[in-house]
């Protein structure tokens, strides 16, 4: 496996260091269910390192776009259980970038409180859809 950037051909030794850490964490997830998060922003990775890491991990079956206080992307990599998560700020700058080694990233779950609230709203909509329209004030 060459540790060279796909973009510039520069050497990218850190991409391999992170990859081996991901491998250990994924083995742990498979054996014990223990999750790991690797914060890519806190590592001294160059854009070349990141591109190389992305290439090594590849693309998986799942790709989600979230609109939660700004945009986020959650992508499964070519290795099940290894997720690449990017939270974007204004101007689509990356505010947080992490690799989550988990069955499902937490941010994709609907929270029970949100579900309860949605259930109430939907029940109201089912019982009073017409009343709602009639009561809508004009103008």
């Amino acid at each position: 496996m060459n540790s060279v950037s796909p973009m510039t051909g520069e050497a990218t030794p850190l991409a391999l260091a992170v990859l081996s850490e991901i491998a250990t964490a994924l083995a742990r997830l498979a054996e014990t269910g223990e999750e790991t998060t690797i914060d890519l922003k806190s590592l001294p990775l160059s854009p070349d390192d990141l591109a190389r890491l992305g290439e090594l991990l590849g693309e998986g079956e799942v790709r989600c776009d979230l609109e939660v206080a700004g945009r986020s992307e959650v992508r499964e990599t070519g290795f099940s259980g290894v997720w690449w998560i990017r939270h974007l700020g204004l101007g689509d700058e990356v505010a947080l970038e992490e690799i989550a080694i988990t069955f499902v990233p937490e941010i994709l779950h609907a929270h029970p409180d949100d579900v309860a609230r949605a259930a109430r709203r939907l029940a109201e909509a089912v019982t009073a859809p017409l009343a709602d329209e009639e009561e809508t004030p004009r103008g």
Binding site: T37, L43, P44, L90, A95, L96, E106
Partner: protein, 351 residues
């Protein structure tokens, strides 16, 4: 309901789901190097918390600290903090004025007795009865003592409030002192910097709000999560320092090649702050990356440390031996070692 609602309920009212808390907490978790399970409980605790009353006092200052916190780079994410706090008094930002607003400050203090946070920017002049800075007819000293009396905690925002800063620089004509020189009976958190990194301010407030306790502080009262790293240890120019490659002036060949700025006065080796990692303006850059040495603005008395362009070895203090260190072209300390240092692994770093 609004005043008593939890933050989770408040945001839900506006159609924002609990995912926003998950996202905000992982963002802060990354900045503060918290373990993932701590981030996770932060998300849950924040959603359960009530809006935090904050009273902001401005004394001898330049308003740069307020500029910094209100100009945080990624508003969609970072602005969440302004949903979490109720800024009940801030002389620069509030629309109201006069008697009415002074009354509002006292009302907020009474309604949230023992629970509100006082944020202070600026130092407090004590000379000549404190007449060099007053507002609403009261000296800064009187307002500070009165407002902190029933506070839960005090956050000194910026180097002036934390250490006296520029007003205290020699010859200190107004007798300026820091908040901690006056307030002795409340927890004080120092967030120095000129100005401080906005994420250090908002992150500390969010931590207080989620966990109801002061984050771990260093010997100067600064949260270790933001001030635990030495600029020099996290500096991307460090390999040049190790090889003894120094810029000798700001436009020589070394400067153009991005060599170490030690000899043109960089104070990175004696400065603790998050500039080299969190950086500024949403992670765009920081002074050293823009070609200027670190001024050491998050350290006490940075203005009086022998000159911004004088190498550390030429200025006062115990740092003279650093010259030896710089001259020795040691083996490049493995970057991979640094790479592992801040990984957030479930089993590590609880709390």
């Amino acid at each position: 309901m609004a005043e008593f609602a939890t933050l989770g309920e408040r945001l839900a009212e506006h159609g924002i789901s609990r995912r926003a808390f998950v996202k905000y907490a992982s963002y802060l978790g990354s900045l503060m190097a918290l373990a993932p399970e701590v981030s996770r409980s932060m998300a849950a605790e924040l959603a359960k918390a009530r809006r935090q009353s904050v009273i902001w006092l401005s004394f001898q200052e330049c308003t740069g600290c307020t500029e910094s916190i209100t100009r945080s780079y990624s508003p969609t994410l970072e602005d969440l903090i302004f949903d979490f706090i109720s800024l009940d008094y801030h002389e620069t930002l509030m629309a109201a004025s006069g008697e009415g607003i002074e009354h509002a400050r006292k009302e907020a203090m009474a309604a949230n007795k023992g629970k509100y946070i006082v944020a202070v920017d600026g130092s407090i002049p004590l000379k000549d009865g404190g007449i060099y800075s007053t507002s609403a007819g009261q000296s800064n000293l009187a307002i500070l003592e009165e407002t902190c009396k029933d506070a839960f905690a005090v956050i000194s925002i910026g180097t002036c409030a934390a250490f006296g800063g520029i007003p205290k620089a020699k010859p200190n004509p107004t007798g300026a002192v820091s908040v901690a020189d006056i307030i002795k009976d409340k927890p004080i958190i120092n967030i120095p910097g000129c100005p401080p990194i906005p994420e250090a301010m908002t992150g500390t407030i969010a931590y207080l709000l989620a966990f109801g306790k002061v984050p771990e502080l260093d010997h100067l009262g600064r949260p270790k999560a933001f001030f635990g790293d030495n600029i020099h240890d996290r500096c991307y120019r460090r390999p040049f320092y190790e090889r003894g490659q120094f810029a000798k002036s700001f436009d020589d060949e070394g400067a153009r090649a991005g060599w170490c700025l030690y000899e043109v006065g960089c104070k990175g080796p004696v400065t603790y702050n998050a500039c080299a990692t969190t950086k500024w303006n949403g992670g765009v850059s920081f002074p050293i990356q823009s070609g200027h040495g670190c001024l050491g603005c998050s350290e006490p008395d940075f203005w009086d440390k022998g000159g911004f362009y004088v190498p550390l070895s030429g200025s006062v203090g115990p740092t003279a031996k650093l010259v030896g260190g710089a001259a020795i072209a040691g083996a490049v300390a493995g970057l991979a070692a640094a790479a592992v240092a801040r990984h957030r692994k479930s089993s590590l770093n609880k709390g």
